[in-house]
């Protein structure tokens, strides 16, 4: 092997090195392009998800407009009674304002349906004996002044005096925490 052969081998090795360099750069480019394409595909999927979620949200908002307006309208009256103490005080005030002959008053806490967003209710079990007009007017006023109050049960029977009636009522006032 003479020096010309050595020179050819060296040049050949250099050319091979350049070729390897080109192939390496191309490989890096391909890897980066593949990574970019994968990320772009993932971004497109996320964008699609955003579009679907936004459309679903808009649909849900539209379909629940009446319900949400309803809630907004009722939140005010409901929020007035948040604790059992509030509810009892309210009942006592209304009974006192009615100026009725009360035989018994009993207050207690009742649980509502499981999973309800109303935290519970205060139940008042009341017994009155008074004249028909006073009792029923009081009940009517109570139901109109406290629109969230539920008259759970009402029993009317004859009173001890001929002009009186006896009214046993069970009233539930929900407790609401906004």
């Amino acid at each position: 092997m003479n020096n010309k052969h050595i020179a050819v081998i060296l040049i050949g090795l250099l050319a091979f090195g350049f070729l390897q360099g080109i192939l390496w750069v191309r490989g890096e480019r391909d890897k980066t392009i593949a990574k970019a394409e994968a990320l772009q595909a993932e971004e497109a999927t996320q964008r699609q998800l955003v579009a679907v979620q936004t459309a679903q949200l808009a649909q849900l908002k539209q379909s629940s407009t009446d319900l949400i307006s309803f809630l907004n309208a009722w939140e005010g009256p409901l929020s007035r009674v948040r604790t059992p103490e509030n509810a009892e005080a309210l009942f006592i005030t209304k009974i006192r304002d009615g100026n009725l002959s009360s035989l018994s008053q009993k207050f207690g806490r009742v649980a509502l349906k499981a999973g309800s967003s109303l935290s519970g209710a205060v139940r008042a079990q009341l017994t009155f004996e008074d004249d028909y007009a006073s009792l029923l007017n009081w009940l009517g006023r109570l139901e109109s002044e406290l629109p969230t109050l539920r008259v759970n049960s009402v029993k009317i029977s004859k009173g001890t005096r001929p002009q009186d009636i006896r009214m046993e009522a069970t009233l539930d006032q929900p407790l609401y925490t906004p």
Binding site: V25, A36, R47, S69
Partner: protein
């Protein structure tokens, strides 16, 4: 011109330091080398430019992805909040539906009792499962056959429907029981406090 040695001597001594030429095929090697250098410059330039573009695309895609993921999270949170509000509204709606005033019904029943009859007692209870439905039980002291009809008509005028009525007549008293279902004339969503 080179003459054969047996005809004439050219007096030249052999030059031993000069290496024999390479075979013709190996002369392509330098040409290939120059081509490799030129193509390496062109191709590497092109590939590096494409690599830069791909890197820019990666940065843009990463930023877009982060933005989209943030939007997904925001939309999910907004939806969760809305669903909670809907659930709350549904609960409130259920409560309001089951809180229809009873006083007008009691008054209607009491007023329907004629002069020759008397209301011994009246009991209205809300159904536990469906509080908008009412269980009515009453005793009317009467000898009139039409009294019960008048009372049930009065209940119907209050927009209630009587279901499963049961009545027994004993010693001049009518015992009457029925389930009262409201005719939902006003949808609960439109009810106002």
């Amino acid at each position: 011109m080179i003459l054969p040695k047996d005809i004439a001597d050219d007096f030249k001594t052999d030059r031993k330091d000069i290496t024999p030429p390479l075979p013709a095929i190996l002369r392509l090697v330098p040409i290939l080398f120059y081509l490799t250098v030129v193509s390496a410059m062109i191709l590497c330039g092109l590939f590096l430019y494409q690599l830069k573009l791909a890197n820019d695309n990666i940065l843009a895609a990463k930023s877009g992805l982060a933005e989209a993921q943030a939007q997904v999270v925001t939309a999910a949170a907004e939806r969760k909040q809305l669903e909670a509000q809907i659930l709350r509204a549904t609960d409130v709606q259920g409560w309001v539906e089951g809180s229809r005033p009873l006083q007008p019904l009691v008054v209607a029943v009491a007023r329907s009792i004629g002069e020759e009859a008397s209301l011994a007692d009246l009991k209205i209870d809300r159904d536990e499962e469906s509080p908008s439905n009412l269980n009515l039980a009453m005793r009317i002291g009467t000898s009139s056959a039409t009294q019960l009809e008048e009372t049930t008509d009065a209940i119907a005028r209050e927009n209630f429907r009587l279901l499963q009525p049961e009545q027994t007549l004993a010693e001049g008293q009518i015992n009457y029981r029925a389930t009262i279902v409201p005719l939902s004339v006003v949808p609960a969503e439109t009810a106002t406090p």
